[in-house]
């Protein structure tokens, strides 16, 4: 890697920061390609469908009555900011999958937002305690611009995988690229190996 003349860098890396990331501190940047939607919680639903034994749709009250689960740790955005030691509250995706009965043929998941935004994940990246649906951030209701009232949280991958305004998870037997993945970003998005752009 070529050294840039005269550049020493002002910030040094915390071991919790993946390569090329910096700590935003208390900030929580917003990066969305769409207009922030206004979601009516009386009408919002969450569906798990595709290759499952029982496709299920939960209402806002139903989803909030599931076993609470919290993530505490770091999040990493592909635009190079990371937010360290933050926390979100909601429900584990494992619980939704257990209720729906994921079929053995399922290998991938497509997450869809109320806006139509989509993102794809290998099934093993979203089950086994690795992903949540969350509606609180640091004990307050998740703000709309951050995906509230409810978003997907997959903190071990770049944050575009954590679809805002989630409404559906569809189990598939193949990979189907989502919005950013079709727009030049990496199919998988592991921050530790810098899977930023397609071809990385």
């Amino acid at each position: 890697m070529a050294i840039t003349r005269g550049f020493t860098g002002r910030r040094r890396t915390d071991p919790r920061l993946p390569p090329g990331q910096y700590d935003v501190g208390r900030d929580f940047p917003v990066l969305t390609a769409e207009v922030t939607p206004r979601i009516n919680l009386d009408r919002w639903t969450m569906t798990v469908d595709g290759l499952v034994a029982n496709p299920i749709t939960w209402t806002w009250n139903e989803i909030r009555s599931l076993t609470p689960s919290t993530y505490r740790g770091d999040i990493h955005c592909v635009t190079t900011w990371s937010k360290l030691d933050t926390w979100f509250g909601g429900v584990s995706v494992d619980e939704l999958f257990a209720a729906s009965g994921v079929l053995p043929t399922a290998t991938h998941v497509l997450a869809t937002s109320t806006t139509g935004y989509t993102t794809n994940l290998p099934l093993d990246d979203i089950r086994g305690g690795k992903a949540w649906l969350v509606w609180t951030h640091e004990d307050k209701p998740l703000p709309t611009e951050h995906g509230g009232p409810i978003r997907l949280l997959v903190p071990h991958l770049y944050f575009w995988k954590s679809a805002k305004w989630i409404t559906r998870l569809t189990l598939l037997d193949h990979d189907e690229r989502g919005f950013w993945e079709r727009n030049g970003y990496h199919d998988h998005g592991d921050p530790w190996t810098e899977e930023r752009y397609s071809g990385d």
């Binding site: 020493t8 860098g9 040094r12 090329g20 917003v30 769409e34 207009v35 869809t112 752009y197």
Partner: protein, 252 residues
């Protein structure tokens, strides 16, 4: 004139966000040479880069720039492209932020002849290739991709298809102010009266009458500005599926 892939601007889905049918190519890392650098505004630095094997971009796309320290530490940031696809050089415009690691370095240290690592073009969503009637609203460094759109509109004879609204605190702070004014852009200055418009933030009155015939809206700027402008467009009746937003910078 550079050839652009046909149909890039065409949505192929009706029920989700319109995803471009043709993908923008993403080049690998390139070592660009600084062909020119100047400081057109008090807090702005413009870079003209010679990028070997440059992949043609679409107006609205961005590059990433990576700086590497002798100990291997790197800082990577995204910058929108200001130049038209037809320009042999790649032009970026960076707003110098207080204590900004990368913008401060570009401002204080970089000289013509320096080599910088870049990668792009990136993004196939926030792009305007001249096919549709569009309104593009930007503020601060968020006007940068609008410069590329404007220059491209001139290249292809489609300036009539692009309505520009550009904002800054004062005229002196607005990047590319002369170019925007010459193109008839609507200037929205928050701290200065201009052309009969009293100082103030972007409001519905600034957009009244500008949306007639507009099929698509582009909004670019800080998170706060992008939120205001995109909500205004939606409130004034633009289909939210047709509003494309690019947000820069931190918010709490």
């Amino acid at each position: 004139m550079t050839d652009l892939p046909a149909g890039t601007d065409d949505p192929h889905s009706t029920d989700g966000p319109a995803v471009p049918a043709v993908l923008a190519p993403v080049g690998g890392w390139r070592t660009a040479t600084v062909a020119g650098i100047d400081h057109p505004t008090a807090h702005g630095v413009r870079l003209r880069l010679d990028v070997p094997d440059r992949v043609d971009h679409l107006p609205g796309q961005h590059y990433v720039l990576r700086l590497t320290a002798p100990d291997g530490y790197t800082a990577t940031r995204s910058y929108s492209i200001a130049s038209a696809p037809s320009d042999p050089l790649l032009e970026l415009f960076v707003e110098v932020l207080p204590d900004g690691e990368v913008s401060g370095f570009l401002d204080e240290v970089v000289e013509p002849g320096d080599e910088l690592e870049v990668r792009g073009p990136i993004g196939g969503w926030f792009v305007w290739t001249g096919e549709r009637q569009a309104v593009a609203i930007g503020a601060g460094s968020g006007v940068v991709p609008l410069v590329s759109m404007l220059r491209h509109a001139r290249d292809v004879g489609r300036t009539d298809a692009l309505t520009l609204v550009t904002g800054a605190r004062t005229l002196a702070d607005l990047p590319y102010a002369d170019e925007f004014r010459a193109a008839g852009a609507h200037l929205v200055l928050s701290r200065e009266d201009h052309d009969g418009r009293p100082a103030g933030r972007l409001a519905a009155a600034d957009l009244a009458g500008l949306l007639t015939g507009a099929e698509r809206g582009f909004v670019c700027g800080s998170a706060g500005f992008a939120e205001t402008a995109s909500v205004l467009l939606a409130d004034l009746g633009m289909d939210v599926q047709q509003i494309r937003v690019e947000r820069f910078g931190p918010t709490s």
